[in-house]
């Protein structure tokens, strides 16, 4: 049975404090990934994108370089990742040890009416990441795999594709004021300047 995206994200983000180096830092891509993370429980160290499509992975890179003792997880969808494919090469060139990316792949642009995306038309994101130089990639298709993926995302530098069911789920809308999201994130990390 195809994976329910909310169940996948709830599992991947649960017990965020149970992360080497301290509470997990999370960046979510525009659209459903942002709603999924909000539905799993809003927290100061979730940075949600409500725009800036294609930017999630690179935000994760800047964050991972700035916080080398922390773990950073970029959680995004196939459409958002496809718009930022070049960032997979940029990140692989640096190989930060504390950054992982998990793509929720339903082969659809869910936000705009479930039009088929490139991953439904032959593009293989895990192969693309491997081709860019990511040493560790994986694909997950069941909840046992998701449960096994959770600690790996917090301990390795990996690119994971989680194949989820298509179709819409009810929207869950976390905070969307960018200044608020940025300030609370930095405040939680104790950054003053």
């Amino acid at each position: 049975m195809a994976l329910d995206r909310r169940a996948v994200v709830a599992e991947l983000l649960r017990d965020a404090a149970d992360t080497p180096g301290g509470e997990l830092l999370v960046v979510t891509g525009l659209g459903s990934s942002t709603y999924d993370a909000g539905a799993a429980g809003d927290r100061d160290l979730n940075f949600y994108l409500w725009g800036a499509m294609g930017g999630a992975a690179m935000i994760g890179l800047g964050m991972a370089l700035a916080q080398p003792a922390r773990r950073v997880l970029v959680l995004t969808g196939d459409g958002e990742m496809l718009m930022g494919l070049g960032s997979l090469a940029t990140i692989a060139a640096l190989k930060p040890a504390n950054l992982s990316i998990a793509v929720l792949d339903n082969g659809q642009f869910g936000e705009t009416g479930q039009q088929r995306s490139h991953t439904a038309l032959g593009a293989d994101l895990a192969a693309i990441a491997a081709g860019c130089g990511w040493a560790t990639t994986c694909e997950v298709r069941d909840m046992a795999g998701v449960a096994a993926l959770r600690p790996r995302l917090r301990g390795e530098a990996m690119f994971a594709v989680v194949h989820i069911a298509g179709g819409e789920v009810p929207r869950h809308l976390p905070p969307r004021d960018g200044a608020h999201l940025a300030h609370r994130f930095r405040d939680r990390l104790g950054i003053v300047d």
Partner: protein
């Protein structure tokens, strides 16, 4: 003051502004800064596939408590427009140094449309723009503009004119 003097001084100004991440899409006019960044163990030098990656990089750096700068040429400004909504919405600093093409003794006509539009496009997207035309003003302009960006938490672009950089020589 010639290029061999002001280019190292510009790098020193970036260091003084506590910038520790430099994302770049190469340009001959930025060659010194790129080499200096790679040679500096305290600087992360990040080659980008496209310029808007540098805006997202800078946002992540800021969220994590560091400061980043983006080096690009004027043609890259056109790639950045939507991503500029990120620092503007999030009231984050953003600092970029843009080397200009298509405006002074340009050989390649393909550089002219974006070069002509660079300043207007940046301003339309909400970026504060400063421009250096003379070697004597570059270092102070970069230092002041970096302070403006990081202290006032706004996006700021410094344009280095093609006259200042020197037009690319195509036929030697």
């Amino acid at each position: 003051m010639d290029r061999t003097t002001w280019q190292p001084a510009v790098y020193a100004a970036l260091k003084a502004a506590r910038i520790t991440q430099i994302g770049y899409v190469p340009d001959a006019g930025h060659a010194h800064l790129i080499e200096a960044a790679h040679a500096d163990p305290e600087m992360a030098a990040i080659v980008l596939t496209t310029e808007e990656e540098g805006i997202a990089l800078a946002a992540g750096a800021w969220l994590g408590g560091q400061r980043a700068a983006l080096l690009m040429q004027s043609s890259g400004v056109g790639n950045c427009i939507n991503m500029l909504s990120l620092p503007i919405n999030c009231r984050m600093p953003f600092f970029t140094i843009v080397t200009m093409r298509g405006e002074w003794s340009e050989f390649n006509p393909w550089q002219v449309p974006m070069g002509s539009a660079t300043e207007a496009v940046l301003k339309a997207a909400g970026v504060h723009v400063r421009r250096a035309d003379h070697a004597e003003e570059v270092v102070e302009l970069v230092a002041a503009s970096a302070r403006l960006a990081f202290d006032s938490c706004i996006p700021v672009a410094v344009l280095l004119s093609q006259r200042l950089i020197g037009a690319k020589v195509w036929v030697k």
